[in-house]
């Protein structure tokens, strides 16, 4: 094996695996905090993708890094609002079980 650098595909596979783990956690978690953590994992997978493409394909303009900065900003805002929603839900229901948040179910 004679490679000059790490192939782009390696980064892409890592980010694909991270994204799928995030989706699995999102679908299967009972705890609402863990659902938020899974969302953060998925956002990180997307960030790895953006950074890999920006380094391998667009290494002069690096627009992918700018996009990553914006995604990090949105993720921070999302985490703050999500955890605030979680706290007010917990005040009303006294549980963090996702199965008991069925107010919108018909």
């Amino acid at each position: 094996m004679n490679l000059e650098s790490i192939p782009l595909q390696a980064f892409l596979i890592v980010s694909s695996a991270l994204f799928c783990i995030g989706i699995w956690g999102l679908l299967n978690s009972r705890n609402a905090v863990r659902v938020l953590m899974s969302i953060e994992l998925m956002l990180n997978a997307v960030n790895i993708n953006l950074m890999a493409f920006s380094s391998y394909i667009d290494n002069n303009l690096i627009q992918g890094q700018v996009f990553t900065i914006f995604v990090i900003t949105v993720a921070a805002a999302e985490a703050a609002v999500g955890l605030a929603i979680l706290l007010s839900l917990y005040r009303n229901r006294v549980t963090v079980d996702m199965e008991s948040f069925n107010l919108l179910k018909w």
């Binding site: 994204f19 299967n28 380094s55 002069n60 690096i62 990090i72 900003t73 805002a77 703050a80 706290l87």
Partner: protein, 199 residues
């Protein structure tokens, strides 16, 4: 392979193993506190991957924002809602697990197939701008990405106000509509849950 490339490969392998195993631990571990700390480890390893990609500024931002802010926020939320409760069993949990796992594995295989079979148009010489990347990001943020940059500040302000409004406890001494004194006890301890299960 020169020694620099070998070092890069070793670093990449270790970091990606930590990312994958840590993420599996985040979603699979029983204790939510362990999950939160493993999530911090995953964030740090992702920052290491960014360093391998010649992006020191984004790696620093990742450590500051994710490990310093988001992870601490999650740990505080766990501390505030950490009550031992016995979850009600779901009767069709087996089929749910099977369906969701098969969906995730199918998606993973599709993504990996796309990753490996597509011919990426890599830029021919790997002349990364390296240390210049911070300067280049600054130029982008204040020229062609100026509007998203300003909108992001508005978004952060909205998120801050929204989080405060959603999470704060009522501190008025009298109820506005009825005039009765407001219960200042911890709501979780004193009052009945407002939205009770109908079934």
């Amino acid at each position: 392979m020169s020694i620099a490339i070998t070092t890069q490969f070793i670093c990449f392998t270790v970091l990606s193993l930590v990312v994958i195993i840590g993420a599996l631990g985040v979603v699979l571990l029983e204790s939510i506190v362990y999950s939160a700390f493993l999530l911090g480890g995953v964030f740090m390893s992702v920052a290491g991957l960014y360093l391998l990609l010649n992006a020191s500024f984004v790696a620093a931002a990742q450590v500051l924002v994710y490990v310093g802010a988001v992870n601490v926020l999650i740990i505080f939320a766990i501390m505030l809602v950490n009550k031992k409760e016995d979850l009600k069993p779901i009767d069709d949990i087996k089929s749910r697990r099977v369906i969701s796992t098969s969906i995730c594995l199918t998606l993973l295989s599709l993504l990996i197939r796309v990753d490996l079979t597509n011919v990426w148009s890599l830029s021919s010489p790997q002349n990364s701008i390296g240390e210049e990347s911070t300067i280049r990001i600054g130029e982008h943020l204040f020229s062609d990405y100026l509007l998203p940059f300003e909108v992001a500040s508005v978004l952060l302000l909205m998120a801050m106000i929204g989080a405060i409004v959603l999470a704060r406890r009522d501190v008025m001494s009298k109820d506005i509509s009825t005039g009765l004194p407001v219960d200042q006890e911890l709501i979780e301890k004193s009052s009945e849950p407002l939205l009770t299960n109908k079934n």
